[in-house]
């Protein structure tokens, strides 16, 4: 795992392919969310970090990742709240309980790239690797 970055943004004709990795599922989810926000910009927060509890239920692991990323995106878009970390207290294939750590977007200190419209289901997948887990998701730009 050491050689591979926790997340990467790469080529897809019109959109962006997000690849995330983690030694555990919890790391994978957190890194994927960081990767998602890195597509939006180089984001900084102002003030003291805050916490937001979230609970998600889904059909399977990939679906859960989709919903988790969509939630992080939703918080950014509606409240300009930037997730900087996540403490996952429960993560099974169908349920996630977590405290998101983050804060309000620092507009002046951030570099904004682009809006992400959605995390798509197209070719969405999580696979187990030698070092843990790897996920792919296509972001609609």
């Amino acid at each position: 795992m050491a050689a591979l970055p926790p997340y990467e943004l790469s080529d897809h004709t019109a959109d962006i392919l997000l690849t995330a990795r983690g030694g555990s599922l919890a790391d994978l989810f957190e890194n994927a969310a960081r990767g998602l926000l890195s597509a939006v910009g180089e984001l900084r927060v102002v003030g003291d970090p805050g916490e937001l509890p979230i609970v998600l239920d889904a059909d399977d692991r990939a679906d859960l990742l989709h919903d988790f990323l969509s939630e992080v995106l939703f918080l950014f878009e509606t409240q300009h709240w930037v997730m900087t970390g996540a403490a996952l207290s429960q993560l099974s294939d169908r349920r996630l309980e977590a405290r998101l750590i983050g804060g309000p977007l620092d507009r002046d200190g951030s570099v904004l790239h682009r809006e992400v419209k959605a995390v798509t289901y197209h070719e969405l997948a999580i696979r187990e690797t030698e070092g843990g887990f790897e996920a792919r998701a296509i972001l609609d730009i």
């Binding site: 080529d11 004709t13 019109a14 679906d63 939703f74 507009r107 904004l112 682009r114 197209h122 730009i141």
Partner: protein, 488 residues
């Protein structure tokens, strides 16, 4: 051009601008795929998985005719971008949120002016700066207009005529908007609170990505009589706006994909890609999406209406005369991400079909009853944005579109380079400076916006429209070149 692998599936040449993917290519295909392209465009189209997606769409229950793809197609998610699929609701035909996309009723609006390039050039920098200050664009920018929850319901239920009635436009605007700016059957109650929360402050904002507002000059007229009807002439300034339903529409799609996730199993539909989830048009689930999607479509027409109004205000400020005196009438506003019920003659009988256009533009021919009276003799204007360095087009619909493509044509140049490849290709260059050298002043909020959207990232729109013209599904009327652009 991209890191994607070459598509090696079966393509049969039909003629110079048509290619068939036979339904024998893949198990589950109910109809053939049909792609409009010449040799040069086809070599680009084969560069990603878009043709496979054309084949996947051919698997949808109730699909009629062909799974169609325009010359600007590229790899999307579920459907390709640039795809058209019509299903027959009376024969189990489905509606699929993936066939519309996240940006419901993304579309284009074209305004004309009385100004010539000579009038505009001396003030172009001031004009672009004023537009950039006036029109909210980029990540997280909220609109100038704030609407209450009750007003949003009017926007979603009644579309752009409601906005115009509040003084934010001219009475003639809605007449020259597809569906009169208001699609029937919209049900704001079906739009979930998360969608309202995401979109409520975004009506009247441009967004980012490939959305833009462009000041252009008509630089070539192909069809003088049609151009005259539209009020267009060589040398004249036009304004083109490309945007959609913003966060509200994205969330309506997102919510529908979730709501419908079990529908294929329930209705016994076998799908090659989850992003194609769908439900019969006549089912409760299908109707639920249709009602919400139409509400988002009305929101999008209001959004472009407000953006057009802001553009008029900026022009009035810079040229110090009211927009009326500048002759800033709307030429047309057309959707290119939408599903609609439309009538077509198929197999010798008239059928009401659910036409999905995902990155495809309606192109009704002369005489069609849904074409505004003003344009009835020439056909419905079709607005095709190109790229910000080369050109954009106005076409009109042709009879071939009714017999072959369910009243549809292309929607733009179509990307040929991924965003990261475009950024890599910009290393050591200033896209801003290059555009300036071509006579285009560009302003962008996002740091990488100009790099990602640089002209080379797109196919040549001239080639794309030449193909749809040759295929007889639409006809070129005028070409515009950009002189200024604002982006998110």
């Amino acid at each position: 051009m991209t890191a994607n692998t070459q598509w090696e599936g079966v393509l049969e040449r039909v003629d110079a601008v048509r290619w068939r993917i036979p339904k024998s290519y893949k198990a589950g295909m109910r109809v053939d795929g049909l792609i409009y392209a010449d040799d040069a465009l086809m070599s680009l189209i084969r560069g990603d998985k878009a043709p496979e997606q054309v084949a996947n769409v051919a698997c949808l229950p109730g699909i009629v005719g062909h799974s169609l793809a325009m010359p600007d197609i590229h790899w999307g998610y579920g459907f390709c971008i640039g795809g058209v699929a019509a299903t027959d609701p009376d024969e189990g035909g489905v509606i699929s949120p993936g066939g519309v996309g996240y940006d419901i009723n993304c579309g284009v609006r074209l305004l004309r002016t009385n100004l010539t390039e000579a009038d505009a050039r001396p003030r172009i920098e001031k004009l672009i700066n004023t537009l950039f200050d006036t029109v909210p664009c980029g990540v997280g920018r909220t609109g100038k207009y704030k609407f209450t929850a009750k007003e949003l319901r009017h926007i979603m239920g009644q579309g752009s005529p409601w906005v115009v009635a509040r003084g934010l436009g001219w009475d003639s605007d809605a007449i020259v908007t597809e569906a009169g700016g208001r699609i029937d059957g919209a049900d704001p109650d079906l739009v979930q609170p998360r969608a309202i929360e995401r979109g409520h402050a975004q009506c009247g904002t441009l967004g980012s990505g490939n959305h833009f507002l462009e000041v252009q000059v008509v630089d070539h007229v192909f069809d003088e009589p049609a151009a005259r009807v539209m009020g267009l002439a060589k040398g004249q300034i036009t304004v083109m706006i490309h945007s959609g339903s913003r966060g509200l529409g994205y969330q309506v799609c997102e919510d529908a994909l979730k709501d419908l996730r079990d529908a294929p199993k329930r209705f016994g539909i076998d799908l090659p890609d989850r992003q194609l989830v769908c439900a019969p048009v006549h089912s409760k689930e299908g109707q639920k999406y249709f009602g919400a999607m139409r509400a988002a479509a009305n929101f999008a027409w209001c959004n472009r209406q407000l953006l057009g109004h802001l553009a008029r205000e900026a022009f009035a400020e810079v040229f110090e005369v009211p927009a009326e005196r500048l002759g800033m009438t709307l030429v047309y506003d057309v959707a290119h991400n939408i599903a609609k019920l439309e009538e077509y003659e198929v197999g010798g009988r008239l059928r009401k079909l659910c036409v999905h256009r995902k990155g495809a533009t309606r192109a009704f021919p002369p005489g069609h009853p849904e074409v505004p009276e003003k344009y009835r003799a020439i056909g419905q204007p079709v607005i095709i944005p190109g790229d910000m360095g080369r050109a954009s087009y106005v076409l009109v619909g042709q009879p071939g579109a009714m017999t072959e493509t369910f009243g549809s044509t292309c929607h733009g140049a179509g990307r040929q380079m991924s965003r990261s490849a475009a950024i890599r290709a910009s290393k050591g260059r200033s896209i801003y400076r290059e555009l300036l050298d071509r006579g285009v002043i560009a302003r962008s909020r996002g740091r990488t916006g100009l790099e990602e959207e640089q002209p080379d990232a797109y196919k040549d729109v001239n080639e794309v429209v030449r193909v749809v013209d040759e295929a007889g599904i639409s006809k070129r009327v005028a070409r515009m070149r950009p002189i200024g652009v604002i982006k998110g």
